[in-house]
């Protein structure tokens, strides 16, 4: 265990930003000293957090100016509330106005139950803001590798990003494992079978099935490198992109719709020993993925 490798999974929102950006380049918008806290949590006798669980601001990444957001997964599970959502919406509006690329470190279980209406509205506003920014030529790069994963409305937003970077620990989905089990029964999906959860929603599977674009180690430096590379990728969003995405999804469901488990999909992709995937080290997996994965490059 190298103590020099900074785990992305372990890091908090502010530590992730510090690891990503050029030293001293981060300027926070609506910082904690502004005390823009949730107007709703007090009613439930729940403590607020000064930044409402999301840190946003501007910075440079290897000299390139970016706008950056990082969710704090340990505060209310990183869930979207009114202020939290508004900060991200505002950041994306600024991105469009300034023509600056955006990097978002997701770590969210979705929308806060206590602020459900405001949260859902925020998700919709954010998705619209992502689309408008992208149409204006802005890249929106999503990074997923935290404890809360990227669920619910967060998963929907992630699906709108121009590039998704994911680690093994990261999970991307809309519905969470427990809700699937409650609604469909434990035989269909046993949420306590964590190996199953990660096979179905985890970073490796998302990479192989085209739900994420870049697979990295659980290492802040690796996330930084991938973000840097993503900033150099084209990021147009137009009708052609949408048509390509539709075609990709239709092809995917035709090809894999009957698969009972992710290992069946991996086998269908041509991987000889699909059962070895979950325990495979990151570098070996990235090499394998590059060869066998379903890409979504022209459909993002």
């Amino acid at each position: 265990m190298s103590n020099f490798r900074q785990s992305w999974y372990e890091a908090g929102a502010r530590e992730r930003i510090a690891a990503l950006v050029d030293t001293g380049s981060f300027a926070e918008f609506v910082g904690p000293e502004q005390r823009e806290t949730s107007p709703h949590l007090g009613i439930f006798d729940l403590p607020a957090q000064f930044d409402d669980g999301i840190v946003v601001g501007s910075a440079t990444l290897d000299g390139a100016p970016v706008l950056i957001a990082a969710q704090e997964g340990r505060f209310m599970g990183g869930a979207f509330g009114e202020v939290h959502g508004a900060k991200l919406t505002g950041l994306l509006h600024a991105a469009k106005a300034l023509g600056r690329d955006v990097v978002i470190a997701f770590d969210t279980g979705g929308v806060r139950l206590q602020e459900a209406n405001a949260g859902e509205i925020a998700i919709a506003e954010i998705m619209r803001a992502v689309a408008e920014a992208r149409v204006a030529g802005v890249r929106v790069i999503g990074m997923i590798g935290g404890r809360a994963g990227c669920y619910g409305g967060g998963g929907l937003i992630a699906g709108c990003c121009s590039t998704l970077i994911v680690s093994e620990q990261g999970r991307i989905s809309v519905t969470g494992p427990e809700v699937i089990e409650t609604n469909m029964g434990v035989e269909e999906f046993d949420s306590r079978d964590r190996a199953l959860v990660w096979r179905t929603m985890g970073g490796k599977h998302r990479t192989l099935i085209g739900g994420a674009d870049v697979f990295v180690e659980d290492d802040a430096a690796a996330f930084r490198g991938a973000a840097r590379a993503a900033l150099a990728r084209p990021a147009k969003l137009d009708l052609d992109t949408l048509a390509a995405e539709q075609a990709r999804l239709e092809r995917r469901i035709a090809r894999f719709g009957d698969a009972a488990d992710a290992t069946d999909i991996w086998r269908a992709l041509g991987i000889d020993d699909p059962k070895a995937i979950p325990d495979m080290p990151a570098t070996a997996f990235a090499t394998l993925a590059a060869q066998y994965r379903e890409s979504a490059d022209d459909a993002r």
């Binding site: 372990e10 404890r147 620990q169 306590r192 964590r194 190996a195 990660w198 985890g202």
Partner: protein
Amino acid sequence: MRQWNTRKALREERIAAGAGFATGKLVRPETLVDFLEAVLRPGDRVCLEGDNQKQADVLAKGLAAMNPARIHDLHMVQSGVVLPEHLDVFDSGIAKRLDFSYSGPQSARIAKMLFGGKIELGAIHTYLELFARYFVDLTPQVALIAAVSADRHGNLYTGPNTEDTPTVVEATSFGSGLVIAQVGEIVDTLPRVDIPGDQVHFVLDAGKPFYVEPLFTRDPAAMTETQILTAMLAIKGLYQPYGVRRLNHGIGFNTAAIELLLPTYGEKLGLKGKICTHWALNPHPTLIPAIEAGWVEQVHCFGSEVGMEDYLAARPDIFFTGPDGSLRSNRAFSQTAGLYACDMFIGSTLQIDLAGHSSTITANRIAGFGGAPNMGSDARGRRHPSAPWLQAGAEADPDTAAPLRRGRKLVVQIGETFGEGNAPLFVETLGALELAEKLDLDLAPIMVYADDTTHIVTEEGIANLLLCRTADEREQAIRGVAGFTEIGRGRDKAMVERLRERKIIQRPEDLGIDPLDANRNMLAARSIKDLMLASGGLYRPPSRFRNW
């Protein structure tokens, strides 16, 4: 004329009665309940395995399904009350009296049943103590045991989770009792013979492995800075100055943090080879990095741990393994090792009072003793010297001439001043005393007695009770490390300062430790996955710990 073979004759009767439900030694599984009703007698003393980890679960279910009109008032003697069936038999009247050691998973229900008069309590023991009584006055007449597999002669393979079985079988079989084994499968050739067939009378093919509780896996991801601080204090303030090579760690996050700090903090202090070389310890996954880094020479295990089997088999230089390569554990011998061959026990507890008595009993939960009191006690029968033992003895009793001055085992309680649910570790009156009153017990169930306890370690510092000369000094030494609890806030500040000058209390600063330096980057592994990687993929963590 007195008959001298009545016990053997009774066993022959039982075997004859059971034969109708078996083919040779093999019980026909669909007749299990009838079989048990045939071989048991009302009032029998029965040992049901009920170990710390492995459970003869199919036999337990069979026992609980018997007709209480036929078999009733059994006297259960077992290490662990773990499965619901272990208490169901008392509910239905199949069993009446209980002697046991540990009841962690059933601590709430057993408390209710004891208060409600559904169980006649013999006594709560430590493991070794109960084993000892199997050979004196609690010899089982029937033993229901669990093994991995059997051959057609009744030879048994118990594998990594051998645990209590050899002890139970020795007492029962040679005491003319009946031994019935549940196994996962019948094979032609066993990997090795743990229990010879002529000690076993009946075998039931359960068709599936016995149930095992995973108990010793502590997720490094859950370790806090405070726990890391207490671990640093322990290593620098105790392990180093006493030079502790031979030890036992009780299970808990504080001790797991110590294990994970050996290759990092311990290395920084230059302690490799000087401490923590020989262990009586269950296979804690958190010890993997220290083993891989060369800190450990040998470990004897009480039992096994789910997911560790392949790692243990791959490290036969370190662990006790059979000719088949798999671990051989033995609770009785490991308990003895902890008692006599270790210089330190360090573990956690729920409550400590002003004298220094500690207990895990609270009003609504009775978890029993398990093995801790064996480890956490000074073994007065010990005769061989060692440096830490002699050093502790000299601190306790500087006035006696050295040749007549026995040593002392280091018995350390470690924990944060506020525990689960922000409950204070330090209390005026132990819950155990209230329990003794409620159940009319002769003795309050104390886990580690004050006069055995040598040190207390919290995030506020280390209290060395060996150096205390009066009850007052002892009380203030305890208050002096009790942090912001009511007990801690009630300290005599001046006296605590004087105790600090005499090194009876040592704060982190006194040991050159800055609490702000205690952070998770010091852990040699910060996640279950890190532990798996450290083991080269040999450690296979149970599903509940995966995040990949």
